[in-house]
């Protein structure tokens, strides 16, 4: 026990003192925050630019419908000839020319509208233009058919389904997104942790082999003890690094957002959700977050996080023991990368589509993929017996894999020179 503590301490200090580790610990949050700021800044930059579009309307119907907005200014060139209008667009460096020709029928007209531009215009502008013309033409069609516009407007039905569970609680439609984000973040985080720190365990095993110190060490401690010490020491270093990232990142982001006055909310999904929904919806989302089984979530996160990390780092340690250098380790990476990728893909495609489907359920039981897939499923509510089976299987396989890895480790650390094959690894297990 005492030796295990010594090994953990040494591994922890060796990792933490490593120059790359220190640099990455303090540089990564800076880089990430810098990127966020850069992206936000670029986005605002783009939005500030007002496009100028020339309008050549032969019908004279639409000039009043194209109103200048925050994004686009329309300039009417209908009084000159089409060629003159084109020339002015080029000379004045406008963003394009919208040409609406005179046609006999609306149907024909709808097909023959053209947009001249040096570069293809952006999609939002085109959509707006299409909508303006489309609405106008539709209304005209209604009129031609003697339909009452007000009556049509009146008879349009708008549906907004209220979601409520059987115990009478209301939830927002966004609740699935919330669960998805929580589960996805947890699963992705676990995968990153396994890859980064599992690799570190492997490198540390290889280092001992290539420094030829291994035999000196294992004449004092049991190989299993050494392997466990390595895995634990490295994981503590990893947890420390993640904590520093979290704190530093948070502080930097807060400071940056207050200094630059930029909303640190990541763009994309989140902000569009917020824009599209009213206050009440936001309230419901917050309620949804609060209503997530946070206790279960945190607890299962810890169980699967620790379990997953141990399972994979034991494999990493065995691989490190089997090879002489990091380049040789590539051939054994498949059993690690494949289930991790499978877990992530099943998580992001199957679980989100159908959290309780057969595929999701099975993969949340198979030990190598279960930590990631189950973490993604849990926010959607998983029957306790499924979680129990999954955890039992995980624990059993940790014991089994560690036992197997320890066998390979024990033989491998004393083998130099030749690159072993899977067949030889299998033979080592039987020694």
């Amino acid at each position: 026990m005492n030796n295990l503590k010594l090994i953990i301490k040494r591994e922890f200090i060796a990792r933490v003192r490593n120059r790359t580790f220190v640099v990455m610990t303090f540089l990564s949050p800076l880089i990430v925050v810098g990127m966020v700021l850069l992206i936000t800044w670029l986005a605002t930059l783009n939005n500030d630019e007002i496009r100028k579009v020339a309008l050549f309307d032969e019908t004279g119907l639409f000039s009043s419908d194209f109103k200048d907005s925050e994004e686009v200014d329309y300039i009417d060139y209908s009084s000159v000839t089409l060629n003159d209008a084109k020339d002015s667009v080029v000379i004045k460096k406008l963003d394009g020319l919208l040409y609406i020709p005179k046609k006999l029928t609306n149907k024909e007209l709808a097909k023959s509208i053209q947009f001249f531009a040096e570069e293809a215009p952006n999609v939002t502008i085109l959509n707006t233009i299409e909508k303006v013309i489309g609405d106008k033409l539709t209304n005209q069609n209604f009129k031609e058919k003697d339909l009452d516009l007000d009556a049509i407007e009146d008879s349009k039905a708008k549906v907004n389904i209220q979601i409520e569970n059987f115990s009478g609680e209301k939830t927002s439609k966004m609740s699935n997104y919330v669960k998805m984000i929580f589960g996805g973040a947890a699963g992705y985080f676990l995968m990153m942790f396994i890859i980064i720190y599992g690799n570190m365990v492997m490198r540390s095993v290889i280092e001992e082999k290539s420094n030829r110190i291994i035999e000196i060490i294992i004449s004092s401690v049991k190989p299993l003890q050494l392997m466990m010490g390595k895995i634990l020491g490295t994981s503590f270093a990893g947890i420390l690094q993640f904590l520093i990232w979290l704190i530093l990142g948070g502080v930097l982001l807060t400071v940056a957002s207050s200094v630059f006055g930029i909303d640190p909310q990541p763009g994309g999904l989140n902000s569009s959700i917020l824009q599209e929904n009213n206050q009440q919806e936001i309230q419901l989302i917050l309620q949804d977050i609060m209503k997530l089984p946070l206790g279960t979530l945190v607890l299962s996160f810890f169980i699967y996080f620790i379990g997953g990390y141990f399972l994979y780092s034991a494999i990493y340690a065995a691989i490190g023991a089997a090879v002489d250098s990091e380049t040789d380790s590539q051939q054994f990476m498949l059993p690690i990368i494949l289930p991790l990728m499978l877990g992530i893909y099943v998580g992001f495609f199957s679980v989100i589509e159908n959290p309780h489907g057969t595929v999701s359920t099975i993969f949340s039981m198979i030990p190598l993929t279960s930590p990631i897939v189950m973490l993604m499923r849990i926010p959607f509510g998983v029957p306790w017996w499924q979680v129990l089976i999954s955890i039992l299987l995980l624990v059993a396989s940790i014991l089994f894999i560690t036992w197997l890895a320890a066998k390979i480790y024990k033989v491998g650390i004393l083998m130099y020179g030749k690159k072993p094959s899977y067949k030889e690894l299998f033979k080592w297990i039987k020694y």
């Binding site: 030796n3 010594l6 090994i7 040494r10 060796a14 490593n18 280092e207 001992e208 420094n211 030829r212 110190i213 035999e215 000196i216 060490i217 294992i218 004449s219 004092s220 401690v221 049991k222 004393l414 130099y416 033979k427 039987k430 020694y431």
Partner: protein, 309 residues
């Protein structure tokens, strides 16, 4: 004599390959025991079994008349042939770490390290990283770490490789010193001259079997062939040589002299003593050289192994 270590009929197989086949050795307390054998004979496997790095499939190992247990690790100091240190760790920290793994407390380890570092005059290395030291320098640190916890049994696998002659001598003296202080030493090497110089007991392993074991003097006694190297100053050397051939087994010998002697090796049968030979030779000329040919360990090594092939 009391044995510190007894290996009893140890067998170890790796798959279909038998690395060690029913090997027993007895290492007397306070001895320097040479473990000899060609490459791949099974020496390292035997040493690893003694160090509890590998478990034997069959057989038993007794240390101080007790079956090997995990706590015995602290009674053994092992310098493996494949040795090294953490390259990016500082010398002092590393030595402390390894000493603590052997069960020393931090303060105790520090004290003893200071003693040894002063003795080897390497105190200023404490804060250097191993990668800044030469191979020989690192070997000194390894030697210190091996003996620091004052083990009863010291196992050195090729201890002199990587040392220059001066430092090799220094290490040799330290090993002898440790023996005087009561330690028992197992010594595995290919360098026969150091075996000749240091070991009082040897065991010879070939192709995973032990083929010879015992006190060096006893072994030499059994391997000597009652042969004497003789140099005589005589007028008529040709006649004497033919004459001698009638009574004894004689072959010409070659050794350096300043005058022109008759040089030969004479092997006696069991019933003839060296005195009989001397008497016979005394009136044949002036005897300049007369000494018994004692086989070197090197010779015994080669002879036993070729005989066993």
């Amino acid at each position: 004599m009391v044995n510190l270590l007894e290996v009893q009929q140890a067998t170890k197989r790796f798959g279909t390959f038998t690395a060690l086949d029913n090997v027993s050795i007895q290492v007397p307390k306070g001895s320097i025991f040479g473990l000899l054998g060609p490459n791949g004979a099974g020496k390292t496997t035997l040493i690893r079994i003694i160090n509890q790095i590998t478990l034997p499939d069959e057989g038993n190992v007794l240390l101080d008349n007790e079956s090997l247990k995990p706590h015995h690790i602290r009674d053994i100091g092992y310098l493996p042939e494949e040795r090294g240190l953490y390259k990016s760790m500082k010398v002092g920290e590393q030595a402390l770490y390894l000493a603590q793994l052997k069960g020393l407390s931090k303060t105790e380890a520090k004290e003893r390290l200071k003693y040894w570092f002063d003795k080897f005059d390497i105190g200023h290395w404490w804060d250097k990283k191993i990668q800044e030291l030469s191979k020989g320098m690192a070997q000194k640190v390894q030697f210190i770490v091996t003996v620091l916890h004052k083990p009863k049994l010291l196992i050195f696998d090729e201890p002199f490789s990587g040392f220059d002659p001066i430092n090799a001598n220094l290490i040799k003296d330290e090993i002898l010193q440790l023996q005087q202080e009561g330690a028992t030493v197992i010594f595995s090497t290919h360098r026969m001259e150091s075996v000749e110089e240091l070991c009082d007991h040897i065991a010879l392993i070939n192709k995973s079997k032990k083929i010879l074991e015992g006190k060096v003097t006893d072994i030499k006694r059994t391997y000597k062939s009652n042969t004497f190297e003789v140099g005589i100053l005589t007028e008529n050397s040709k006649d004497l040589y033919t004459h001698l051939q009638e009574t004894f087994t004689v072959v010409p010998a070659n050794f350096k002299t300043i005058d022109d002697q008759l040089k030969m090796k004479i092997t006696l049968d069991k019933n003839t003593s060296s005195n009989d030979l001397l008497q016979y030779l005394s009136d044949k000329g002036q005897i300049m050289r007369f000494n018994e040919v004692i086989p070197g360990i090197n010779e015994i090594f080669i002879k036993t192994i070729t005989e066993n092939e």
